[in-house]
């Protein structure tokens, strides 16, 4: 059974006297168990709407979604989900310990279970020193730690995290990344939205890319990126001035470094032609390396306006 399945999931926001906004358009998504799944898109692409639909905070306009086979509209489904909203907010007058206890009560955990949860989570998220301080005045990083702890109350098998690293300093981001990896090692499924590509590239198995409420790409990162070579770098030595100038005119870029000439060609065809000309002209190839797209390049390319939009 898959961890998350959505079928034709759509959400249109309608407000009296305002134009309706289609925030999510026919999303079909399947996320397997024990996957770390990245959900990418710009602000307003429909990521948070999808997450809120999965957590039962919004009602879909059409379509359906299940987690581990349970409809997301039921409390049973929410028992299986640990949710961390973007910029989580909690009652300011509670302490971290009281906050964890409160959410434990909402999950009907016994006092002993709640005490156990606190022991475990306060150690995992380093909350012991701030256990009895009120949340009012806590930094973003501290709130994020508490939010993560709240998501883990009751040990749910699925974590849904909305921009968990947004606005955090490098140490905070590293901590969240490590926590996600740790949860994956504990056989949890993690579905998270982000626009920090480097983080996604490091920890995700598969990703989906959303553009304006529609899913445009999905798959394993290596497969998505293998589809396109950004450029081919050719490094050569012993080139005549004439050949250097000629190749420089064809290449995307050219720069000399010591005795070497470094060329970047747009595709392999151009690069192969250049290699032939270098060898015929008495030069020597030092390196021939295709440069694959990074996830960020790929993501940005998906955001470019289509021909129709430009017109």
């Amino acid at each position: 059974m898959s961890a998350i399945v959505t079928k034709n999931l759509s959400k249109i926001y309608r407000e009296l006297g305002k134009a309706s906004v289609k925030s999510l358009d026919g999303l079909d998504l399947t996320i397997e168990k024990n996957e770390v799944y990245g959900f990418l898109g710009r602000n307003g692409a429909g990521k948070t709407t999808t997450i809120k639909l999965l957590c039962g905070l919004l009602k879909p306009t059409s379509g359906e979604a299940t987690v581990f086979g349970e409809s997301v509209r039921t409390p049973q489904a929410r028992r299986l989900i640990g949710y961390l909203p973007e910029q989580p907010y909690f009652y300011e007058y509670l302490t971290p310990k009281e906050t964890i206890d409160f959410y434990g009560k909402l999950q009907k955990l016994s006092p002993a279970e709640r005490a156990h949860q606190w022991d475990k989570l306060s150690e995992l998220l380093d909350l012991r020193d701030i256990a009895n301080q009120r949340l009012k005045g806590f930094s973003k990083g501290m709130r994020q730690r508490i939010g993560f702890a709240v998501a883990l109350v009751g040990n749910p098998p699925l974590l849904i995290l909305d921009e968990p690293m947004s606005g955090l300093d490098p140490i905070g981001r590293r901590m969240i990344r490590d926590l996600i990896m740790r949860c994956r090692d504990e056989k949890k499924t993690i579905f998270f939205s982000s626009h920090v590509m480097s983080d996604v590239e490091q920890i995700c198995d598969r990703v989906s890319i959303m553009v304006k409420g529609k899913l445009t790409h999905r798959g394993r990162i290596d497969q998505l990126l293998a589809q396109k070579t950004k450029a081919v770098e050719v490094i050569a030595v012993g080139l005549s001035e004439e050949l250097r100038t000629a190749l420089g005119g064809i290449a995307q870029s050219h720069r000399p470094l010591d005795e070497q000439d470094i060329f970047n060609f747009a595709d392999e065809g151009e690069a192969n032609d250049a290699v032939q000309r270098i060898q015929q002209g008495g030069g020597r190839i030092v390196q021939f390396s295709p440069i694959r797209e990074s996830l960020e390049d790929f993501f940005l390319r998906q955001q470019e306006p289509t021909v129709e939009e430009v017109v």
Partner: protein, 253 residues
Amino acid sequence: MRILAIAQNTFRESIRDKVLYVLLFFAAVTIFGSKALGWISIGQDIKIVKDIALSATSIFGILIAIFVGTSLIYKEIDKRTLYTILAQPMHRYEFILGKYLGLVALLAVVTVTMALVSSLYILMLGGTLQVTFFLAILLIYGKLLLITAFAVLMSSLTSPILGAIIVFSVAVFGHATEVFRDLPPQFEGTSAKAILEAVYYVVPNLSNFDLAQEAANGIEVSGAYVIWVMAYGLLYTVMLLILAALAFQEKDV
């Protein structure tokens, strides 16, 4: 347990609301100031103190129910504290009920405090207290249960300001529902008469809960009447809470 946890939290939250203390301050000023009116009407001072103390308990109780109640759900959405709560394995009606119970627990504390202060003040002034005075307090609380339920309904439907205006209007007209029934003759045969008559039957008759005159004049009130009014209030309260739960069930947050 979930409802109780939310109720406890709501109580802790509401008791920190500054509006509560401002209103309590004015309630205390009104109760203690009532003696001044007593001086004007010679020989009537205790009666007037009792009447004003009960009216102040009622009015300031209603204002607290309106101001705290109508922002109860809205504040949770606005401050985004609702997201992680509704994502828990709970029904939405549990949240509504928890919020409601937390606020009526606060109102119980407020009502008892005002009743205690009023009673001590009346005793200090040399007056006596009859059972009717305490029955009047009980019915004020019954009325607050009803108005709070309406405020919670409005809170799950609309903004605090609009909600407060609507609940305040209903509270005012609820004390004079007969104006909708005893219409001047020119309304005869018009559709406005039918609509206003419908309003008469829908808006709860809050003057049923008012025993200030009886308490001030030491007139006995039958237990059956008190039970009937409390049952009347509870019926409205339950209906309003069901509506609030239904409205909140489908709400996007």
